[in-house]
């Protein structure tokens, strides 16, 4: 029992002991439900845990395969905890955080988090003109600010203006992710190198963002298995502990169109980071490798600032001199990330964080013992600090 007046917390109370995924491609033949089943069963097999032992689930509100369908298909046992987290890719790390909290507080013993999405062959959500969000879309979409890329490009232009961030800095982000994807046979961009000339001459999507500043559009599914630390010692794989976890919804935040606060360039990462580091034994200096949500390249320098790897306004400069590459100050997105491995709402960043701490990444950081994983920045977000 915790001492009177202190919360027991979730620090190292739970561990990720299984990961699984399907192939990643622009188009996969199977439907999302089938892909979800395959990823979940692969993760349980990796952990050496039978589906009947699963009693907790967590996913995204945007996940179309619901708990009932998944549970009856793969043969889960009686579920005593299940929940979904909102705000698209901002919910990725929170799925694991919710399972860790449920397990730490005795509400469940074996949790599965998953995401299955056919964003490659399926529709682009922004093309839906009948079911658009009334707020805040009424203030943006009539004027042609239609896509997530436009919404982030608006913040990116201001960020570049205020702090001297350049397209070369954004290219450094795209290149680091592509270089790691070129080492990862599972990555969509495994055999497609990127050059500076390709980046600088590519077509615009929403100036100042070009094609290579945007993530992939991918079909695929991933899952992971979370258990308590005692159980974790008996699993098939080396446990990866959830050392700290946080969500972040800052005061007066407005989502991806965060134009209406005093300081729109300090987003949810700052809020999540304050909680994360407060509850961790580690600091940003102790992080060996990071998996940072990269739906768009500017989210990485902004997140580097938010999570304390550099000072305010220095995120662009941080990317210089190969800092994000293998052997750099902070290798990031070592499987290729959303920009070059697969865009499955950031779940592939969690599984790559696990591989780094198992020592099995295709771009392994030698001796990696601590990995930060983040969810979508500029939406209500979440983060995990994983350690071996």
């Amino acid at each position: 029992m915790a001492a009177p007046g202190t919360a027991p917390g979730i620090k190292d109370a739970a561990a990720i002991v299984g990961i699984g995924q399907t192939a990643f491609a622009r188009h996969l033949a199977e439907d999302e439900r089938t892909l979800a089943c395959r990823a979940v069963l692969a993760a349980l097999d990796d952990a050496g845990i039978a589906p009947g032992e699963v009693d907790a689930l967590a996913s995204y509100t945007m996940e179309d395969t619901d708990e009932v369908e998944l549970a009856k298909a793969v043969g889960f046992g009686d579920l005593t905890f299940f929940g979904k987290v909102g705000y698209g890719g901002g919910g990725s790390c929170a799925t694991v955080a919710h399972l860790a909290a449920a397990i730490a507080t005795g509400q469940a013993t074996v949790g599965v988090a998953w995401r299955s999405r056919k964003r490659g062959s399926g529709p682009r959500p922004w093309t839906n003109t009948t079911a658009q969000l009334p707020t805040p879309a009424q203030w943006t979409r009539p004027f042609g600010l239609l896509r997530p890329a436009d919404e982030i490009a608006m913040l990116a232009r201001r960020y570049m203006h205020e702090y001297g961030v350049t397209r070369d800095h954004l290219f450094n982000v795209a290149l680091a992710c592509r270089n790691r994807a070129n080492q990862n046979p599972a990555a969509v961009m495994y055999d497609r190198p990127l050059t500076r000339e390709m980046y600088m001459t590519s077509r615009w999507i929403s100036e100042p963002l070009c094609l290579y500043d945007n993530c992939l559009e991918t079909d695929g599914a991933l899952a992971c298995v979370v258990v308590g630390r005692e159980r974790a010692r008996d699993c098939r794989q080396r446990p990866v502990y959830v050392h700290a976890a946080a969500q972040g919804l800052p005061a007066q935040h407005h989502g991806m169109v965060n134009y209406w606060t005093d300081d729109p360039l300090t987003g949810p990462a700052w809020t999540a980071a304050r909680h994360l580091w407060k509850h961790a034994d580690l600091t940003p200096r102790d992080v060996d490798v990071a998996q940072i949500y990269d739906a768009f390249t500017p989210l990485i320098p902004l997140s580097l600032e938010g999570y304390g790897f550099c000072a305010r306004g220095e995120g662009g400069a941080f990317t210089e001199q190969g800092a994000l590459e293998t052997g750099g100050r902070l290798p990031v997105n070592t499987a290729g990330g959303g920009l070059s491995e697969a865009y499955v709402h950031g779940f592939n960043l969690i599984t790559e964080g696990v591989r780094q701490l198992r020592g099995t990444s295709t771009a392994q950081v030698p001796g990696a013992a601590a990995c930060l994983v983040t969810a979508g920045e500029d939406v209500p977000t979440s983060a995990l600090l994983l350690r071996s």
């Binding site: 879309a137 600010l145 239609l146 201001r158």
Partner: protein
């Protein structure tokens, strides 16, 4: 082209815009202006509000130039600018819009090369939407 899908909080903004007036929601108790509109004041929690006329002068806070793929009505005007305008009278009230050559002009009627962060603009109205012209 998309028209605003309004809600109870936002409807007055569009009703005033249809009359060629730019107004923002403000707390009737503490006086703080707020945007986007919402049911109560985040500063003093009052549910009493008023719609305060603002002169419609501002500066470009940021902008993008959108290129395809876009929805059909927008794609045929691309590339076009979308701006965020910070109102001079009410800092922190920032409105998304388009800088056009004159009220009712196409979204691509101003060369994006003329846009700068900090450029002065003023509001005009067309078809129930505020637009912006370089001041």
């Amino acid at each position: 082209m998309l028209t605003p899908v309004t809600d109870a909080d936002g409807a007055p903004f569009w009703e005033y815009a249809a009359r060629g007036e730019l107004r923002v929601q403000a707390c009737a108790d503490c006086g703080e202006a707020r945007f986007p509109p919402r049911p109560c004041c985040p500063h003093c929690q009052s549910f009493a509000c008023e719609w305060r006329p603002v002169p419609g002068r501002g500066r470009v806070w940021s902008y993008v130039v959108a290129h395809p793929p876009l929805l059909p009505g927008y794609a045929e005007q691309a590339p076009y600018n979308v701006v965020v305008v910070e109102l001079e009278e009410a800092p922190r009230i920032r409105l998304v819009g388009n800088v056009v050559a004159h009220a009712g002009a196409r979204l691509d009627s101003v060369d994006p090369g003329r846009l700068r962060i900090g450029a002065r603009v003023r509001a005009v109205f067309s078809g129930g939407l505020p637009q912006w012209v370089l001041a």
